[in-house]
Protein backbone atom coordinates (compact mmCIF):
# COMPACT_ATOMS: atom_id res chain seq x y z
CA UNK A 1 0.00 0.00 0.00
CA UNK A 2 1.46 3.34 -1.02
CA UNK A 3 1.71 6.56 0.95
CA UNK A 4 -0.54 9.60 0.66
CA UNK A 5 -0.72 11.80 -2.40
CA UNK A 6 2.31 14.11 -2.77
CA UNK A 7 0.21 17.28 -2.80
CA UNK A 8 -1.63 16.20 0.34
CA UNK A 9 1.68 15.53 2.05
CA UNK A 10 3.10 18.85 0.91
CA UNK A 11 0.20 20.71 2.51
CA UNK A 12 0.76 19.05 5.88
CA UNK A 13 4.56 18.97 5.99
CA UNK A 14 4.93 21.95 8.26
CA UNK A 15 2.58 20.35 10.81
CA UNK A 16 4.37 16.99 10.57
CA UNK A 17 7.88 18.40 10.90
CA UNK A 18 6.95 20.79 13.69
CA UNK A 19 5.26 17.95 15.60
CA UNK A 20 8.42 15.82 15.43
CA UNK A 21 10.67 18.67 16.54
CA UNK A 22 8.24 19.52 19.36
CA UNK A 23 8.56 15.98 20.68
CA UNK A 24 12.33 15.94 20.53
CA UNK A 25 15.16 18.16 19.37
CA UNK A 26 16.04 16.67 15.98
CA UNK A 27 18.35 16.99 12.99
CA UNK A 28 17.40 16.70 9.31
CA UNK A 29 18.31 13.08 8.74
CA UNK A 30 16.62 11.99 11.99
CA UNK A 31 13.39 13.77 11.00
CA UNK A 32 13.29 11.90 7.68
CA UNK A 33 13.92 8.63 9.53
CA UNK A 34 11.29 9.38 12.18
CA UNK A 35 8.66 10.02 9.51
CA UNK A 36 9.60 6.81 7.72
CA UNK A 37 9.60 4.68 10.87
CA UNK A 38 6.47 6.11 12.46
CA UNK A 39 4.49 5.62 9.25
CA UNK A 40 5.92 2.12 8.76
CA UNK A 41 7.70 3.23 5.61
CA UNK A 42 4.57 4.54 3.91
CA UNK A 43 5.74 8.15 3.94
CA UNK A 44 9.26 8.78 2.70
CA UNK A 45 10.20 12.41 2.77
CA UNK A 46 12.83 13.67 0.32
CA UNK A 47 15.59 16.05 1.37
CA UNK A 48 14.44 18.61 -1.18
CA UNK A 49 11.05 18.70 0.56
CA UNK A 50 12.29 18.69 4.16
CA UNK A 51 14.95 21.39 4.17
CA UNK A 52 12.79 24.17 2.64
CA UNK A 53 10.23 23.50 5.42
CA UNK A 54 12.94 23.70 8.08
CA UNK A 55 14.21 26.96 6.53
CA UNK A 56 10.71 28.41 6.43
CA UNK A 57 10.09 27.52 10.05
CA UNK A 58 13.47 28.86 11.12
CA UNK A 59 13.02 32.10 9.16
CA UNK A 60 9.61 32.51 10.81
CA UNK A 61 11.13 32.11 14.29
CA UNK A 62 9.23 28.88 14.97
CA UNK A 63 12.38 26.81 15.46
CA UNK A 64 16.07 27.49 15.98
CA UNK A 65 19.08 25.50 14.90
CA UNK A 66 22.38 24.79 16.61
CA UNK A 67 25.33 22.99 15.05
CA UNK A 68 26.81 20.25 17.17
CA UNK A 69 30.38 19.25 16.33
CA UNK A 70 31.52 15.92 17.79
CA UNK A 71 34.78 16.05 19.71
CA UNK A 72 36.17 12.99 17.97
CA UNK A 73 35.52 11.71 14.46
CA UNK A 74 31.88 11.95 13.59
CA UNK A 75 29.34 13.86 11.61
CA UNK A 76 28.50 17.45 12.53
CA UNK A 77 24.77 17.73 13.06
CA UNK A 78 22.44 20.69 12.95
CA UNK A 79 19.83 20.23 15.68
CA UNK A 80 16.48 21.97 15.48
CA UNK A 81 14.61 23.00 18.60
CA UNK A 82 11.07 24.36 18.84
CA UNK A 83 10.60 27.94 20.10
CA UNK A 84 7.55 29.47 21.84
CA UNK A 85 6.43 30.91 18.49
CA UNK A 86 6.68 27.41 17.04
CA UNK A 87 4.52 25.96 19.82
CA UNK A 88 1.83 28.54 19.04
CA UNK A 89 2.12 27.75 15.35
CA UNK A 90 1.89 24.03 16.03
CA UNK A 91 -1.25 24.54 18.10
CA UNK A 92 -2.85 26.54 15.30
CA UNK A 93 -1.82 24.03 12.61
CA UNK A 94 -3.14 21.10 14.69
CA UNK A 95 -6.49 22.82 15.15
CA UNK A 96 -6.68 23.66 11.41
CA UNK A 97 -5.87 20.06 10.52
CA UNK A 98 -8.46 18.59 12.90
CA UNK A 99 -11.12 21.01 11.61
CA UNK A 100 -10.18 20.16 8.03
CA UNK A 101 -10.37 16.39 8.63
CA UNK A 102 -13.76 16.81 10.32
CA UNK A 103 -15.11 18.91 7.44
CA UNK A 104 -13.77 16.61 4.73
CA UNK A 105 -15.22 13.61 6.56
CA UNK A 106 -18.60 15.38 6.64
CA UNK A 107 -18.32 16.08 2.92
CA UNK A 108 -17.32 12.53 2.09
CA UNK A 109 -20.21 11.08 4.07
CA UNK A 110 -22.63 13.55 2.49
CA UNK A 111 -21.20 12.70 -0.93
CA UNK A 112 -21.70 8.97 -0.38
CA UNK A 113 -25.36 9.53 0.47
CA UNK A 114 -25.76 11.75 -2.61
CA UNK A 115 -24.28 9.07 -4.86
CA UNK A 116 -26.46 6.30 -3.50
CA UNK A 117 -29.55 8.47 -3.94
CA UNK A 118 -28.51 9.27 -7.54
CA UNK A 119 -27.85 5.55 -8.14
CA UNK A 120 -31.30 4.51 -6.96
CA UNK A 121 -32.97 7.12 -9.20
CA UNK A 122 -31.10 5.83 -12.24
CA UNK A 123 -31.92 2.27 -11.36
Amino acid sequence: MGGPDKELLRGTLELVVLSIIARQTSYGYSIINAIKQETEGRIELKEGSLYPVLYRLEDAGAIESVWHYPEERGVPRKYYRILPEGKKRLGRLRKEWCDYVRLVTLLIEGGSEGRSEGGSEDG
Binding site: G28, K46, E47, G48, S49, P52, Y55, V75, R77, K78
Partner: protein, 270 residues
Protein backbone atom coordinates in the same frame (compact mmCIF):
# COMPACT_ATOMS: atom_id res chain seq x y z
CA UNK B 1 43.80 9.24 -4.67
CA UNK B 2 42.45 7.46 -1.58
CA UNK B 3 38.83 6.37 -1.26
CA UNK B 4 37.89 9.05 1.31
CA UNK B 5 39.10 11.82 -1.00
CA UNK B 6 37.21 10.33 -3.94
CA UNK B 7 33.99 10.19 -1.94
CA UNK B 8 34.46 13.78 -0.72
CA UNK B 9 34.91 15.00 -4.27
CA UNK B 10 31.87 13.04 -5.39
CA UNK B 11 29.74 14.61 -2.66
CA UNK B 12 31.05 18.11 -3.35
CA UNK B 13 30.27 17.66 -7.04
CA UNK B 14 26.70 16.72 -6.11
CA UNK B 15 26.34 19.73 -3.81
CA UNK B 16 27.72 22.02 -6.52
CA UNK B 17 25.06 20.57 -8.80
CA UNK B 18 22.40 21.69 -6.32
CA UNK B 19 23.96 25.12 -5.82
CA UNK B 20 24.19 25.66 -9.57
CA UNK B 21 20.39 25.81 -9.70
CA UNK B 22 19.96 27.74 -6.48
CA UNK B 23 19.40 31.41 -7.19
CA UNK B 24 19.98 32.68 -3.66
CA UNK B 25 22.43 34.94 -1.87
CA UNK B 26 25.61 33.27 -0.65
CA UNK B 27 24.56 33.05 3.00
CA UNK B 28 21.47 30.98 2.06
CA UNK B 29 23.42 28.87 -0.42
CA UNK B 30 25.93 28.19 2.32
CA UNK B 31 23.14 27.04 4.63
CA UNK B 32 21.91 24.56 2.02
CA UNK B 33 25.45 23.32 1.28
CA UNK B 34 26.20 22.77 4.99
CA UNK B 35 22.93 20.93 5.58
CA UNK B 36 23.37 18.68 2.55
CA UNK B 37 26.97 17.92 3.48
CA UNK B 38 25.93 16.90 6.99
CA UNK B 39 22.90 14.98 5.73
CA UNK B 40 24.90 12.99 3.19
CA UNK B 41 27.61 12.21 5.74
CA UNK B 42 24.97 10.99 8.19
CA UNK B 43 23.13 8.89 5.62
CA UNK B 44 26.31 7.37 4.20
CA UNK B 45 27.11 5.82 7.58
CA UNK B 46 24.25 3.40 6.88
CA UNK B 47 24.76 2.80 3.14
CA UNK B 48 27.23 3.62 0.32
CA UNK B 49 27.38 7.27 -0.68
CA UNK B 50 26.50 6.44 -4.30
CA UNK B 51 23.26 4.94 -3.09
CA UNK B 52 22.56 7.89 -0.80
CA UNK B 53 22.93 10.37 -3.66
CA UNK B 54 20.85 8.20 -5.96
CA UNK B 55 18.05 8.12 -3.39
CA UNK B 56 18.23 11.88 -2.97
CA UNK B 57 17.55 12.33 -6.67
CA UNK B 58 18.84 14.79 -9.26
CA UNK B 59 20.49 17.91 -7.79
CA UNK B 60 18.32 20.09 -10.02
CA UNK B 61 15.19 18.61 -8.42
CA UNK B 62 16.40 19.37 -4.90
CA UNK B 63 17.27 22.92 -5.95
CA UNK B 64 13.87 23.35 -7.63
CA UNK B 65 12.05 22.34 -4.44
CA UNK B 66 14.11 24.76 -2.38
CA UNK B 67 13.53 27.54 -4.92
CA UNK B 68 9.77 27.00 -4.70
CA UNK B 69 10.05 28.29 -1.14
CA UNK B 70 12.05 31.33 -2.09
CA UNK B 71 10.95 32.24 -5.60
CA UNK B 72 9.03 35.29 -4.42
CA UNK B 73 11.55 36.32 -1.77
CA UNK B 74 13.63 39.07 -3.34
CA UNK B 75 15.53 39.71 -0.11
CA UNK B 76 16.97 36.19 -0.15
CA UNK B 77 17.63 36.17 -3.90
CA UNK B 78 19.13 39.58 -4.63
CA UNK B 79 19.02 41.47 -7.92
CA UNK B 80 21.19 39.37 -10.24
CA UNK B 81 19.97 36.04 -8.86
CA UNK B 82 16.36 37.14 -9.30
CA UNK B 83 17.05 38.04 -12.94
CA UNK B 84 18.90 34.77 -13.54
CA UNK B 85 16.03 32.82 -11.93
CA UNK B 86 13.48 34.65 -14.09
CA UNK B 87 15.45 33.63 -17.18
CA UNK B 88 15.71 30.06 -15.86
CA UNK B 89 12.05 29.41 -15.05
CA UNK B 90 10.44 31.81 -17.54
CA UNK B 91 7.40 32.44 -15.30
CA UNK B 92 8.66 34.58 -12.48
CA UNK B 93 7.34 37.44 -10.38
CA UNK B 94 9.47 38.78 -7.54
CA UNK B 95 9.39 42.16 -5.81
CA UNK B 96 11.62 43.77 -3.22
CA UNK B 97 10.02 44.49 0.15
CA UNK B 98 11.36 48.05 -0.04
CA UNK B 99 8.96 50.45 -1.71
CA UNK B 100 9.11 54.01 -2.96
CA UNK B 101 5.80 55.82 -3.37
CA UNK B 102 3.86 52.56 -3.35
CA UNK B 103 6.06 51.02 -6.04
CA UNK B 104 8.53 48.25 -5.23
CA UNK B 105 12.13 49.36 -5.42
CA UNK B 106 12.80 46.35 -7.65
CA UNK B 107 10.26 44.28 -9.56
CA UNK B 108 11.35 41.42 -11.81
CA UNK B 109 8.60 39.70 -13.77
CA UNK B 110 8.61 37.38 -16.76
CA UNK B 111 6.19 34.99 -18.42
CA UNK B 112 2.68 34.45 -17.10
CA UNK B 113 0.95 34.11 -13.73
CA UNK B 114 -1.26 31.23 -12.51
CA UNK B 115 -4.28 32.78 -14.25
CA UNK B 116 -2.50 32.90 -17.57
CA UNK B 117 -2.09 36.67 -17.48
CA UNK B 118 1.21 38.15 -18.55
CA UNK B 119 3.44 39.24 -15.67
CA UNK B 120 4.34 42.92 -15.98
CA UNK B 121 7.25 44.37 -14.03
CA UNK B 122 6.31 47.70 -12.44
CA UNK B 123 8.88 49.19 -10.09
CA UNK B 124 11.43 51.90 -9.56
CA UNK B 125 13.78 49.39 -11.19
CA UNK B 126 11.72 47.10 -13.41
CA UNK B 127 13.08 44.12 -15.31
CA UNK B 128 11.00 41.75 -17.39
CA UNK B 129 9.35 40.90 -20.66
CA UNK B 130 7.30 44.05 -20.20
CA UNK B 131 8.87 46.57 -17.83
CA UNK B 132 7.51 49.86 -16.59
CA UNK B 133 9.55 51.91 -14.15
CA UNK B 134 11.99 54.71 -13.48
CA UNK B 135 14.69 52.41 -14.84
CA UNK B 136 13.03 49.82 -17.08
CA UNK B 137 14.79 46.95 -18.80
CA UNK B 138 12.92 44.43 -20.89
CA UNK B 139 11.75 43.27 -24.26
CA UNK B 140 9.23 46.11 -24.10
CA UNK B 141 10.23 48.82 -21.67
CA UNK B 142 8.75 52.14 -20.69
CA UNK B 143 10.51 54.36 -18.18
CA UNK B 144 12.53 57.45 -17.45
CA UNK B 145 15.51 55.36 -18.52
CA UNK B 146 14.29 52.55 -20.76
CA UNK B 147 16.45 49.79 -22.21
CA UNK B 148 14.95 47.09 -24.39
CA UNK B 149 14.08 45.75 -27.78
CA UNK B 150 11.21 48.22 -27.84
CA UNK B 151 12.00 51.09 -25.49
CA UNK B 152 10.24 54.33 -24.78
CA UNK B 153 11.39 56.85 -22.19
CA UNK B 154 13.10 60.10 -21.44
CA UNK B 155 16.32 58.27 -22.25
CA UNK B 156 15.70 55.19 -24.39
CA UNK B 157 18.11 52.61 -25.72
CA UNK B 158 17.48 49.46 -27.69
CA UNK B 159 16.43 48.21 -31.09
CA UNK B 160 13.38 50.38 -31.68
CA UNK B 161 13.42 53.36 -29.37
CA UNK B 162 11.45 56.49 -28.72
CA UNK B 163 13.04 59.03 -26.38
CA UNK B 164 11.81 62.30 -25.03
CA UNK B 165 15.37 63.55 -24.62
CA UNK B 166 17.66 60.93 -26.09
CA UNK B 167 17.07 57.77 -28.12
CA UNK B 168 19.80 55.28 -28.99
CA UNK B 169 19.03 52.31 -31.18
CA UNK B 170 18.84 50.60 -34.52
CA UNK B 171 15.86 52.84 -35.17
CA UNK B 172 15.69 55.81 -32.83
CA UNK B 173 13.27 58.70 -32.63
CA UNK B 174 13.38 61.53 -30.11
CA UNK B 175 12.50 65.13 -29.42
CA UNK B 176 16.04 66.24 -28.57
CA UNK B 177 18.71 63.81 -29.82
CA UNK B 178 18.70 60.46 -31.63
CA UNK B 179 21.63 58.20 -32.45
CA UNK B 180 21.20 55.01 -34.43
CA UNK B 181 21.05 53.22 -37.72
CA UNK B 182 18.02 55.25 -38.61
CA UNK B 183 17.75 58.33 -36.40
CA UNK B 184 14.91 60.81 -36.43
CA UNK B 185 14.80 63.79 -34.10
CA UNK B 186 13.33 67.20 -33.52
CA UNK B 187 16.78 68.46 -32.48
CA UNK B 188 19.81 66.38 -33.43
CA UNK B 189 20.07 63.14 -35.38
CA UNK B 190 23.14 61.01 -35.99
CA UNK B 191 23.10 57.80 -37.98
CA UNK B 192 23.28 56.04 -41.30
CA UNK B 193 19.96 57.69 -42.00
CA UNK B 194 19.69 60.93 -40.03
CA UNK B 195 16.63 63.11 -40.30
CA UNK B 196 16.12 66.03 -37.96
CA UNK B 197 14.43 69.36 -37.73
CA UNK B 198 17.61 71.23 -36.73
CA UNK B 199 20.86 69.22 -36.97
CA UNK B 200 21.65 65.95 -38.76
CA UNK B 201 24.85 64.05 -39.44
CA UNK B 202 25.12 60.74 -41.26
CA UNK B 203 25.49 58.87 -44.52
CA UNK B 204 22.18 60.30 -45.63
CA UNK B 205 21.33 63.37 -43.58
CA UNK B 206 18.62 66.00 -43.90
CA UNK B 207 17.88 68.88 -41.51
CA UNK B 208 18.07 72.64 -41.35
CA UNK B 209 21.82 72.12 -40.83
CA UNK B 210 23.23 68.84 -42.03
CA UNK B 211 26.41 67.08 -43.06
CA UNK B 212 26.06 63.89 -45.07
CA UNK B 213 28.03 61.70 -47.42
CA UNK B 214 26.02 63.11 -50.27
CA UNK B 215 26.25 66.78 -49.43
CA UNK B 216 25.69 69.32 -46.71
CA UNK B 217 23.53 72.34 -46.00
CA UNK B 218 24.56 75.78 -47.26
CA UNK B 219 25.43 76.79 -43.71
CA UNK B 220 27.00 74.35 -41.23
CA UNK B 221 27.66 75.35 -37.60
CA UNK B 222 31.32 75.22 -36.59
CA UNK B 223 30.66 72.64 -33.81
CA UNK B 224 29.19 70.22 -36.36
CA UNK B 225 32.18 70.64 -38.63
CA UNK B 226 34.63 69.97 -35.79
CA UNK B 227 32.56 66.99 -34.59
CA UNK B 228 32.78 65.43 -38.06
CA UNK B 229 36.51 66.14 -38.20
CA UNK B 230 36.93 64.61 -34.76
CA UNK B 231 34.99 61.50 -35.78
CA UNK B 232 37.06 61.14 -38.95
CA UNK B 233 40.31 61.47 -36.99
CA UNK B 234 39.26 59.07 -34.24
CA UNK B 235 37.07 56.76 -36.30
CA UNK B 236 38.38 53.61 -34.62
CA UNK B 237 37.94 54.99 -31.11
CA UNK B 238 34.43 56.11 -32.02
CA UNK B 239 33.50 52.69 -33.43
CA UNK B 240 34.87 50.91 -30.36
CA UNK B 241 33.09 53.31 -27.99
CA UNK B 242 29.77 52.75 -29.75
CA UNK B 243 30.27 48.98 -29.63
CA UNK B 244 31.07 49.05 -25.91
CA UNK B 245 28.01 51.22 -25.27
CA UNK B 246 25.88 48.80 -27.26
CA UNK B 247 27.25 45.86 -25.29
CA UNK B 248 26.75 47.61 -21.98
CA UNK B 249 23.17 48.63 -22.67
CA UNK B 250 22.01 45.64 -24.64
CA UNK B 251 23.95 42.51 -23.80
CA UNK B 252 25.15 42.96 -20.25
CA UNK B 253 21.72 42.88 -18.55
CA UNK B 254 20.95 39.55 -20.22
CA UNK B 255 24.42 37.99 -20.12
CA UNK B 256 25.49 39.00 -16.61
CA UNK B 257 23.02 36.74 -14.77
CA UNK B 258 24.13 33.81 -16.92
CA UNK B 259 27.76 34.53 -16.08
CA UNK B 260 26.76 34.65 -12.44
CA UNK B 261 25.10 31.25 -12.75
CA UNK B 262 28.26 29.82 -14.32
CA UNK B 263 30.40 31.35 -11.60
CA UNK B 264 28.16 29.83 -8.94
CA UNK B 265 28.35 26.42 -10.53
CA UNK B 266 32.10 26.57 -10.75
CA UNK B 267 32.80 26.94 -7.05
CA UNK B 268 31.74 25.19 -3.95
CA UNK B 269 30.76 26.82 -0.70
CA UNK B 270 32.54 25.87 2.46
Amino acid sequence: MDETRRVEQYVEQYIRGVLRHLYLKDEYRRRVADDLRSHIAEASQKKPVDEVLKDMGHPRKIAAEIMETYEKDYEKMGFLNAIAYAQHVRDSNVKSAAQVGGWPLVHIATGYNESGERNVAKGIIAVGDIAIGVVAMGAVSVGVIAVGALAAGVLASGALTVGLLVALGAAAASVVASVGGAAVSGGFAFGALALARLYAMGAYARALYYIGAYGESAVVPAWMRSLVEGLRTHALLFAVSLSVLGLALGLVPSVLPQLLALRKGGRGIR
